[in-house]
Symmetry: C2
Subunit: 196 residues, 2 copies
DNA sequence: CCCATATCGTAACGCCGTTACGATATGATG
DNA sequence: CATCATATCGTAACGGCGTTACGATATGGG
């Protein structure tokens, strides 16, 4: 028998964890398959056997991002005020995108011209939206919002995404105060407009 | 005296025009300095003398994008119904982003890990927002919207951007009908929420 | 002890961004 | 008219990337 295999699922997980860290620390430009391999103390062909190609590596980081966001959302409680809970959902979503800005780029933009999420990959993002839909439904059943929950969730998520992108690109304002004010204005206006 | 210069401002403009076309036709992955040079019937060092580096080339495409968007917006008339005009502004903005999706990526995402728009570059995007602010002001002075015009413009642009990104990524829905419905719901809800 | 073979990493290929540098063209000079 | 100085040009090089062919290697079975 030949030598024991080193390119195991364990190594896969280790490399993926290193990849997520490297992406956060070095940004999109520093994220190369060779670099990930070196940082993981393995060889480049090992990474290619484990992930197929660079797009495959990015895809798994993409999935990991949605998993992390979902974990964060799951910590949200239920205060009995569905609209206040929705506001806190927005704040959590915002803080995730701001704190993990490069990861969020991979999730919501396509900074690597390789990996273009196919429709099947988009299931990851819909798993997060399912969560939002559920919190929206609590508002509609309480009579605080009116309309289709999925449509409302799409609108809310799009607004959050647009605001977060603008904030990340320093397009939303120059002071923390003005940025906060615009977040609050936009989200409250959207919810107000949906409440009648 | 040495030979006549070929790397003139005229060549600069020609290369830029080729670059914009190449970006649209080949996407981010196919957009390389070498390729732009070849397509422009010139040499790679010529492109580098004219634009400094690849980031400089992308930066000029970025500016050109905002110029084109601004031209489109300038075609908007004044119907006497400021809110309806704002809706048409949204539709024009949307169609621009959808029709020029790769160009819009360069304007609003950072698909090239080189070029990171500095604060001075963001003046380009603010020139467009100034236009939006003006149309919002017509609503506020008519009593149709209430609040600071700049804040409202930021909220509206962020929503448009988020919806357009979602639509481009096929995240906003699977049918034209549902996508249109969500655009309409979101924009009208935001304006409704700002109208009191 | 030797061998078959699965597994490994070195090194190659073509492409990229970038630039050094030799080739070249052209007006000025003797 | 021949020579020269020099600004301008494009070829070709360098290192790094994604990707992979292939020779080296380790290890259980005969």
């Amino acid at each position: 028998m030949p030598r024991a295999k080193q390119r195991t699922p364990q190594l896969h997980d280790h490399v993926l964890s290193v990849a997520v860290d490297l992406l956060a620390s070095e940004g999109v430009a520093g994220f190369t398959a060779r670099r990930v391999a070196r940082e993981s103390h393995t060889s480049t062909p090992a990474v290619y056997e484990l992930f197929g190609d660079k797009a495959g590596l990015v895809r798994e980081v993409f999935f990991e991002g949605f998993r992390l966001l979902r974990y964060r959302l799951d910590t949200l409680g239920n205060s009995g005020d569905p609209r206040a809970d929705l506001i806190r959902l927005v704040e959590l979503y915002r803080s995730f995108v701001i704190e993990n800005s490069v990861l969020a780029q991979v999730m919501f933009s396509r900074p690597f011209s390789d990996f273009d999420p196919a429709l099947s990959d988009l299931a990851a993002s819909s798993s997060v939206r399912v969560f939002v839909v559920e919190r929206v439904r609590r508002c509609t059943t309480a009579g605080l919002l009116h309309g289709d929950e999925t449509d409302i969730a799409h609108a809310l998520v799009a607004l959050i995404q647009g605001l977060a992108d603008a904030e990340n690109a320093q397009r939303l304002g120059s002071t923390r105060k003005s940025i906060d004010r615009r977040w609050s204005l936009a989200v409250n206006a959207l919810l107000d407009g949906l409440s009648r």
